[in-house]
């Protein structure tokens, strides 16, 4: 096994997982909402991009650009009208409603698109490769990783340097007092989910161009996303990137030993981290 190559592939794969996870981390961090439909929303966005590509003949990246505001609106509406009603002290309603949502999305997609496996074609980019010293990597994985880093930088800038970012953090700290400052939590939550859906669209673009997907691909993506978030620790977006990388590297090393062990290796790494750090590697202090 070429260690360097394997680890490099793992790190780049981690970028994809970080993209899966970033939206989840944002929503989880601000409103403690566990959205079990997150993976299915990524698949939904992938189908949306696919439809735009096949119906309008657009390049996938352009299609994603169009899909992003649509997904933002969908997320906003979903949160404001449905998920906001489930938020409260009890953790069961959001879990169960999003679980139901996950089933609805999967089966809705099955009815609309059949169970066939799909792929979004990115043309020449798919096979283009670039060499970094002794390693050859594809352009797409590099783009994916770069996008993940960019997304996380952008989100951090938003959260730590803007007025709305302050509002996000304040609402996450203390909903009641945030209201006293004129922050409307219902709208903040909707905004957060909308934003998460934009990230989901980017993740969907890279998922769809990298591998085959079908309506039931959601839950697996959800698990990877959660593993990345939990390994990294709640509240830290850079932690989510680290979590994604750890997961990606564990999977590629496992796959290099035996292809059947890829996913298992990822799960074992996740469990190992949780064994020693039940709250992840970089959890924020107040939780």
């Amino acid at each position: 096994m070429n260690w360097l190559d394997t680890i490099a592939q793992g790190i780049l794969l981690g970028g994809l997982y970080a993209l899966f996870a970033a939206g989840l981390s944002l929503v989880f961090g601000i409103m403690r909402l566990v959205n079990l439909a997150h993976g299915d929303l990524i698949v939904f966005a992938a189908f949306l991009i696919l439809s735009l590509v096949s119906l309008l003949g657009l390049h996938p990246f352009v299609a994603a650009l169009i899909a992003a505001p649509l997904m933002f609106a969908a997320g906003w509406i979903l949160q404001y009208h449905l998920l906001n009603r489930t938020l409260g002290k009890d953790i069961l309603p959001p879990l169960l409603v999003t679980f139901g949502l996950s089933i609805v999305i999967q089966n809705g997609l099955l009815e609309g698109f059949t169970a066939d496996s799909r792929r979004i074609s990115a043309g020449a980019l798919e096979t283009a490769s670039v060499s970094l010293g002794s390693i050859n990597t594809g352009v797409m994985p590099m783009l994916t990783f770069a996008s993940a880093v960019l997304v996380i930088v952008a989100l951090n800038q938003l959260i730590y340097r803007t007025s709305i970012g302050r509002a996000f953090r304040a609402t996450s700290d203390d909903v009641t007092t945030a209201g006293l400052m004129g922050i409307r939590p219902q709208r903040i939550f909707a905004m957060a989910t909308g934003l998460a859906m934009v990230v989901v669209t980017i993740a969907a673009l890279y998922l769809g161009t990298r591998a085959n997907f079908d309506p039931t691909s959601g839950p697996a993506r959800l698990i990877y996303a959660f593993e990345a978030v939990i390994i990294g620790g709640l509240g830290s977006l850079w932690g989510t990137l680290v979590g994604g990388i750890i997961l990606g590297v564990a999977q590629t090393i496992g796959a290099a030993i035996n292809p059947e062990w890829q996913i298992l290796a990822g799960h074992l790494a996740f469990l190992l981290v949780l064994l020693f750090k039940p709250r992840g590697l970089f959890p924020r202090a107040a939780d």
């Binding site: 989880f28 566990v34 169960l96 999967q106 939990i230 298992l264 949780l274």
Partner: protein
């Protein structure tokens, strides 16, 4: 100087209605036993399905509704129980009915380290943790080539034909082997369901049940009054694992064919179970019973509609959680105040009013 009365208080859970229900339930149970002799084989299989889903639902309800442990990974125990049974029967020639019990014990063995690990996690971390461990189980069993690896395997042809009791049934009631097999698994399921409901009801009526309710509502406060929260949760978790494991093993005795994806399916053994409990009513014993009946009816109604069936199920779950968070039984019980399995403690006896003048400090 006040007169000190020594009140004779008693704590009871029985009400008039629940006593009447108990009698009716006993009649239903007695009638349920001869079912294989009275109804068609298809009906027996339907009843088997209802009973096994009921056991799974009661177990999940015990964990989530009473102990506050929201697990999305109970399929771990279904799969482990099923595979243990398969191993015992296929590789060691054990009688399937005996294997079911041993499989349940195997599930408990698996539950011990699982509990140790997952109890360190809270809320959504716990839920995802249980799911991941179930996935690990699925992936590990898929490596076991002797039992079919990733594609799975079937029970040896005569394993169910030669079960203890089959010959007796064949001679007594002139059943064919397959019918007799179905009858035996049905009776096992019936007994398992009764044991499950009985055990849960006993637990809730005991003082452990009070402790459990306290843990669910506020673990720290419960600890402060001396409830050993960790011990309670562990006992509940292991019990649920045993019952779920037995149930999983039993289901696969009937199915006779196993694969990792099927035995560890999150849809079949968690999604459906959660729907049943949510729609029926979480946190009550009556809820899952109502839920299983609704689920069975819905499944039969929508059988031919493919993915619409699941879609509608999902929508029903969402609507129920938003508008009737305590399920159908919860709606009914709130309106009428009826509890068929009463676990509310009622203070009976003693004087109702106890008037005393306070001292200088009120």
């Amino acid at each position: 100087m006040e007169q000190l009365l020594s009140p004779t208080f008693k704590v009871e859970t029985r009400t008039g209605l629940s006593a009447a229900f108990a009698v009716m339930a006993a009649i239903v149970v007695i009638l349920a036993f001869p079912a294989p002799l009275l109804v068609s084989r298809g009906a027996v299989q339907d009843l088997f399905f209802i009973l096994t889903m009921l056991v799974l639902a009661q177990c999940w309800n015990l964990l989530a509704g009473y102990a506050g442990l929201i697990s999305v990974g109970q399929q771990l125990f279904v799969g482990c129980g099923a595979y243990a049974m398969f191993a015992l029967v296929s590789l060691f020639g054990l009688d399937p009915m005996v294997a079911v019990i041993v499989a349940g014990l195997f599930a408990v063995v698996v539950a011990v380290p699982t509990a140790f690990f997952t109890f360190r996690l809270y809320g959504p971390y716990f839920a995802i943790g249980t799911w991941v461990i179930a996935e690990v189980g699925r992936l590990l069993f898929a490596q076991w080539k002797a039992l079919g690896g990733g594609t799975g395997t079937s029970l040896p042809h005569d394993a169910t034909r030669d079960m203890i009791g089959v010959d007796l049934l064949k001679s007594l009631f002139r059943m064919k082997s397959a019918e007799a097999g179905d009858a035996l698994t049905y009776w096992f399921a019936l007994v398992l369901a009764l044991v499950t409901i009985g055990a849960i009801y006993w637990l809730l009526r005991s003082r452990h049940g009070l402790g459990l309710a306290a843990v669910r509502d506020n673990e720290q406060a419960a600890r402060a009054v001396g409830v050993d929260a960790r011990r309670m949760k562990t006992i509940v978790y292991l019990t649920a694992a045993f019952l779920t494991g037995c149930c999983g093993a039993l289901i696969y005795v009937q199915k006779q064919r196993i694969s990792p994806d099927a035995a560890f399916s999150v849809i079949d053994w968690t999604a459906y179970v959660i729907f049943i409990v949510v729609i029926g009513g979480i946190g009550t014993i009556e809820g899952p019973i109502v839920g299983v009946i609704v689920f069975f009816l819905l499944q039969n109604l929508l059988a031919g509609y493919g993915s619409w069936y699941l879609l509608i199920l999902g929508l029903v779950a969402i609507v129920t959680m938003l508008f009737a968070p305590r399920g159908l039984w919860g709606l009914f019980s709130d309106r009428t105040g009826i509890q068929l399995f009463p676990v509310r403690r009622i203070l009976k006896g003693g004087p109702l009013e106890h008037k005393q003048m306070g001292g200088p400090n009120g």
